[in-house]
Amino acid sequence: MGDTIWQSMQKKGYSRRDFLQFCSAAAVAAGLGKSGAAQVASAFEKKEKPAVVWMHFQECTCCSESFIRASHPIVADALLDVLSLNYTETLMAASGFQAEKSLNDTIANNKGKYIVLVEGAVPTKDGGVYCMVGGKTAESILQTVAADAAAIVAWGSCASNGCVQAAKPNPTGATPISKLVSKPVINVPGCPPIADVMMSVVTHLLVLGQVPALDDQGRPKEFYGRRVHDTCYRRANYDAGLFVEAFDDESARKGYCLYKMGCKGPVTYNACSVVKWNEGTSYPIQSGHGCIGCSEAGFWDNGPLYKHLTQFPGFGIESTADTIGTAVGVATLAGVAAHAVVTNIRKRSVIAEVHAEDEKES
C-alpha cells in the first residue's frame, strides 16, 4: 500500500508517455476533455490508490453487472490500477469472516479517506430484519461504513430512490441511502445506471478528488442534466408528429417516435440517448421500446408503462431538473380528462389531436 498511481504504473513497466496517454483517456472519461490531461496527471501523481468498499443491500446486482460492462477504462484496469476495491460481495475472493475482515480493516486503516459505493435500498421496517449480512442488519452496516467515509455514492435507483422494492406498497420499508445517512450522497440513478456513467462518476471522484457538480436531487449534472427526450435522435419525428401507433407497425419499422407507446423520455433525466448503452451500442428507444423512466424517483408508480404521458412540464432544452423541480409525468387513465399539453414543441396541434383521441376512448 502507499504507492501513488504513477508509482504503481511505473512498477508495472509503464513509461511516462504511457502514463500521460492514460491520463488523457481518464481526462476524457472524467469529462475534462484532452486539455484536462495535465490536471489529471498531477492528480494521479499525488494520490494513493483510494480504498473503496461496495456494499450490497436490497438489490438485484444489476448495478454490479453494469459496472463490469464499462469500456473506458475497462473494469479490469480500473480494479488493478485506479482503485483498491477491498470489499464487494459480488467479486471478492474472501467469504464469511475473512470478507468482514476486509471491510473492517479498510475502515480502520483509511478513516475519512475511503469511498463507499452502495448498491441497494435499506429496509427499515421491523427492526431491519428484511436484509441481514453476517447476522447484522443492512441499516447497522450502512451506519458503520458511512461514519468515516470520505464520500458516499448511491448506485442505481434502489440506493438513490428505493426502486422496485419501494414501489407501492413498499412492503419492507425500503429506504434510499440519502435518507439514512447524515452526509451528502451522490445519487447515480437508473436501473441500472449506464456502465460508463458509473465509471466516470468513480473516476471523477478518484482522479479529480472532487465531487462532481450535482443537481438538487444529488445527481451529477454531467449525466442527469438533460432529458432523454431532448437528446433523442427520434425527437425530430416527435416534432413532426410522426408516431408509432402499435409495436412493429409500419411507423415502428421506420423508427418513428415512441411517445404514443408510453415513452417516458420527456420526463426522464438521463444520458441514455447521448452516451448510450454497452459501449454506445444502443439505448431502449433505438431498439424499439419506449423509455420506462428508470432513473426517475418513484418511476414504478408513475403510471403503466404503455400509457402515454398527457402532460409534462413545458420547458425548453436549456432547463434542468433544478429549475423546474422533479419532473413527474401523469399517465392517461380511463375517465380522466386529458390535460392540455404545454410544451415547446412546434407541432402542438398534432399532440392535441392525440389527446382528443384519448378523450374519445375514455
Binding site: 471478492m92 419499422r253 424499439g288
Partner: protein
Amino acid sequence: MAATRVVVDPVTRIEGHLRIEAVVENGVITDAFSAGTMVRGLEKILQGRDPRDAWAITERVCGVCTTVHALASCRSVEDALGISVPPTAEIIRNIMLTTQYVQDHVVHFYHLHALDWVDIVNALKADPKKAAELAQSFSKWDKNNTAYFTEVQDKIKAFAASGLGIFANGYWGHPAYKLPPEVNLIAVAHYLDALQWQKEIVKIHAVFGGKNPHPNYLVGGVPCSINVNEVAAINMERLNLVSQLISQADEFVNEVYIPDLLAVASFYKDWSKYGGGLHNYLAYGEFPTNGYGHPESFKYARGAVLNRDLSTVFPVNAKDQQEIKEYIAHSWYTYDGGNDVGLHPWAGETNIKYAGPTPPFESLEGFDKYSFLKTPRWKDNAMEVGPLARLLVSFAAGHADVKETVGAVLGKLNVPVDALFSTLGRTAARGIDAALAMIWLKEFFGELMDRVKINEVSTFNGEKWEPKSWPADAEGVGLVEAPRGALAHWIKIHNGAIDNYQLVVPTTWNGSPRDAKNQHSSFEAALIGTPVANLEQPVEIIRTIHSFDPCLACAVHLYDPQGRHLHQISFE
C-alpha cells in the same frame, strides 16, 4: 472431536445474501443449514398492476440472471391470454436467452467460481514460458503466449504488493488448492480476459433490447422491428454486429472457457466424489423451435428424473395443483392451514413471520425456522435444478446433441457418467451447457437471417394487446429453463389487472431449507458428507455451494405484511 458449527456469511461471489451454517464432526459435514437473509416483496408490489408491465418489474428480481424473469413473465401473460408469438420474435427470444446462458456461465466460471480452485498468489510462482506451452497444447487462443503471460504475472505481482484489493483474505495457500503454478497463471490471465470479453457478448442484448443489464421485452413478441432498408431498425449493420459478436463468443467459449474448465477439472477429479446431494432432477426444458406450446420441439427436454435413474423421464405439469407445492415448515412464514401443509402457487399464501434471532446474532442454531426462502417440492420430492439437471433430463430423454456433447466432455476427462453426480460434475455440466447454448445461438441466428431473407420479419402479435380484448379472468404459467435452472411465474389476471403473481425460481429449489418431512434441499444435501480440512478456511463449503451458482435475490421475493392471502388482496 465434538461437533463444531461453521458459519459462512456473507457467502460472496454469488448474487444476493446467503448464510450457510454447517455442522462439522471429525472433519466431515454432518448437517447443514442454508439461509436466505434478504426479502423484498415483489409479488405484493405486482398486484393491481397492468400484466403487460410485469416483465419489467420481475426482470428486476435479478440483474445477474437478467432477461430470464422478463421472458417467464411474458410467457405467463401470453399463456393466460392465449397469445402466440410470431416465429421471428421467438427466434430473437432464443438468441437473447442463449446469449444469456453463454455470458452467465463464463462469468460464473471465472469470476464467481474459479477462485475456489485457482490460487491467484501461487500463479506468481509460474514460469510464463511453460504456461504458454501448456496453454498452446490445449487451445488455439492467440493470446496464449509467453509475453502475455509474463505481462499478466507482472500485473498480479504489482497488485499483490499493493494489498490484493478484491483478492485479499482469500484462502490462498490452503492445501485444497491443487493446480500447478502454470495452470493458476493461465486461469488468472483468462479471468481478466473473460472480464473484458463478457461486456462484448451482451451487446447482442443491447441490439435487440436496447440495453444490458435489463434489456426490454414485450408481451406478444419483442420490441424491436426489423427493416433492412431503414437505419432506425434492425438492419444489416445491426445483424452484422450480432454475427461478429457470436463469432467472438464462439471462439471464447471453445478456445478459452471449455479448455480451461477441462484443464482445471483434471486436477480435481477427487471432487467427483463429493457434493452429489439429491438424486432427483427437474427441468422445464427450453428453446422452442416450433412455438412455445410445443415442448416436444424444445432443444432441452421438459421432465423429471428420480433416483438418478436415467431410464425414465417423468412428465411435469406446472398447472397440476398436485405436482409443485411450496412448504414453509422451516421458513419465516406461516400458513393458515398449518405449518406442515404444501400449497400450489395458485393457492399460495405469503404471510411472513420472522422468527429468527434478533440481529446482531452469531448463529441460527436452535431456531426451527431459519430462512426467507420457501421450500418447493415436485410431487413431494426434493429436486435439484440447473445445468446438471437439464442435461440429465435431456440425456435420459434421448436428445442426441446433448448426449453427444456430454459424452465428449466425459471422454476428455476420462470419467464415467456417474462423475456428473458431484460438485465437479455440476461445474462441468455448466460448461457443457454453455457449449450447447453456443451451438444453438449460431443456429438461431442462422434461422433469423433466413427469415430476414424472405422478409418474414413480424416481431409482434398485437391481436390481444388491448385489455378490452381480454376475458374478465385469466390465468397462466410461464416456464423458462434459466441458466440457473427451472424458473416459473404463475399469474392470475382479473379485470385487466394482476390479481395474483407467484414465482418459484431455481435457487428456491436448490437453496431452500428442509421441508415438513425434514427432507433437505440441494445445498444442504450436497454439503453433507463433504470433508472440511480447516474450519477457519472452509473452502470445501464454498466449492460446493458455488457449483450451484446461487442467486438469492431471485429466490426470496415474497412478503405480505398484513398476513393476508395474496390472491385475496385487491388494489385500489
